[in-house]
Subunit: 300 residues, 2 copies
Amino acid sequence: MPATSRLYGGIEAGGTKFVCAVGETPQAIQASTSIPTTTPRATLNQVIAFLRSYPIRRLGLATFGPIDLDRDSPTYGHILSTPKLAWQGCPIVHILQTALGVPVAVDTDVNAAALAEATYGAGRERDPVVYLTVGTGIGGGAVVHGRPLHGLMHPEMGHMLLTRVPGDTRPSGCPFHEDCLEGLASGHAIRLRFGAPETLPPGHETWVLEATYFGQALATIVTILSPQIIIISGGVMHQPHLLPRIREACAQALRGYVPRLKTLSDFESYIVAPALGVNAGVIGALHLAQEVRYTPNLTT
Amino acid sequence: MPATSRLYGGIEAGGTKFVCAVGETPQAIQASTSIPTTTPRATLNQVIAFLRSYPIRRLGLATFGPIDLDRDSPTYGHILSTPKLAWQGCPIVHILQTALGVPVAVDTDVNAAALAEATYGAGRERDPVVYLTVGTGIGGGAVVHGRPLHGLMHPEMGHMLLTRVPGDTRPSGCPFHEDCLEGLASGHAIRLRFGAPETLPPGHETWVLEATYFGQALATIVTILSPQIIIISGGVMHQPHLLPRIREACAQALRGYVPRLKTLSDFESYIVAPALGVNAGVIGALHLAQEVRYTPNLTT
């Protein structure tokens, strides 16, 4: 056990597991562990036990959302309405801060991953950086002018509205929206609409729809946020044929309107896989802990 | 003529007119003029003649787009492909800088207006601030983390893709996109699809479509950029019944997903008219001239 007070702690809190790490810098992880996501009590007790073994000076939390990030709100640091019902209303920031006795910097998992990729990965020297993850759900985060994007709350890119492909009358996977990205193109939506994604061959119609919906969504992101790079990660993206198809669909949706996005080779360096792989979230969490300027809402 | 070197110059370059102003601060305009937009030579000669009468130290230019804002590009400061064909390729920044011999800070008209509203108007203490103008075309700008939003280029919110209302088979007003906001809801689109906007009574179906399309568009902006306020200006918005209808349509599109946007009263303080009225653009131009930190790409 390192006897130093220069250690930072990081947690990527996901729907399946909590990845915890400690390190003196975000890229020098000294120890890490993975804890299954069950109930808040069971999961957080294990997370706290792991982190208590190290004299961390500050903790970064990159969490699934939605989460209240408004420091002035009575529910600051609480998980809001989520399909993970056991976690709804969980004051996760307060629990961690009280148990560990250190300041906690918190952001969404995707904002933290965007920050990690912008700092150490595929988004270096680019701004804005957009980071999307396509797993059971769909999350999107962004770094703008060097800092994670917040406002009224945090981005909820998974819930942007799309136009259905004619003939696609299958149900939405989103309980809120008939036609949002998450409802039409998440892993959960594919499973509901067509079957388990990993069992569907590259020629299956679901992948045509998947590329079309992402092409639309990314074109919309381009018109609103004008990112210099878009990074897409997540289990659904493990299909190697999907990223090239999404680039083509995005080009078709934009129809040459953006001067820097004319050819398919423009899109090859614009819509990319993450450089940090599955570690982006926890590296981002450690970075949040290290760089307190990102979280003026730091708890202390 | 004031014999001081503390004056800034500002230009709001629009499709109908160029508004020029000088002042020691953006809110203390000492002189201004309005020059019709005809050809680059005729219009810019008059603009230059006006501004030469004052010893300005720096110029801010808030211009219609698209414009190349990448300092490293050979076409930096040039107007790009625009329906205003006489202006296509016009090196407007270079012309003004050469003629006036002062540094020029440039941004889009809507980014400059967003900056003005964020600094002096309806967007004070809010971040991000989104500013949309609905005239002949539709433009959108934003201030994020206190600075105008740029990236791959500047936002092109008018060209975000929408879902057509079932039964709306009328043509798009956009030569690029069948289903974008500008193609379905700009003043030009209304004129093409239904007739002159100012002649259409409040009960006309165009206003139902207008509210629906803007409701969709603003819901999408909320999910991607999470602004703390959205300001809508422009000639089409002079219909007093339109803003309340847009708020309702946006609420319907979001379906209660965003905790801070549940009730219609939440939307009343969220989707608003500009506080600076038609002056936002030129005030923003003067602000660009004064606050050089917004334009690291300042020409000198």
